[in-house]
Homo-oligomer: 120 residues x 2
Amino acid sequence: MHTINIAEKLGSFTDHWSPKIIAELNGQEVKLAKFQGAFDWHSHTDADELFYVLDGAFTMEFRDRVVNVPQGHMIVVPKGVEHRPVAKEECSVMLFEPKGVVNTGDNESSEHTTDAEWIA
Amino acid sequence: MHTINIAEKLGSFTDHWSPKIIAELNGQEVKLAKFQGAFDWHSHTDADELFYVLDGAFTMEFRDRVVNVPQGHMIVVPKGVEHRPVAKEECSVMLFEPKGVVNTGDNESSEHTTDAEWIA
């Protein structure tokens, strides 16, 4: 039984749009990711997705609106809703979502598609 | 589609050991709570429980060890494991656990037992 140091985990990687798994519970995963630039439009058929901003800020684009998500705020994107995160400057985010969710969802041919990996 | 401001939510209540629900996704709930003093020994038969320290620090007591959980750290308590959070000074915590988990788990006769409520 140990604690997970979020700052230490964030300091252990530099790549963007590549979520790292830091915890698993109840079939869900907690991940950390760094955003910079524009991601792909996508949705997740079976998974709601939570984004909690640890450092910086990003905008979550939806087909009908844009929502600014600053540091210390979170947003839940319901399953099936198309979205695209965009970060003008680098932003660090904590994600909560079901185990095995792929970052680009139904957009499987994206250059951004990657499996999340555990970081020590 | 809106963001959830964690500082604003934390500022909206003062009671201890009474988790407030701020988000729901995938059958799980995100809650905020303030700890001060010693809670009850308990476990959750069917729920792993995540504690993420937003402000302050607390210690998680287990039957065979004590783990300090400072600000910016998280700890996952697996289902079935007896634990008791203790905070010498007030501590603000984010919880992530299945919907409907009762704060005192199998210790149903505690004075601390309370249903979590949504805060606006």
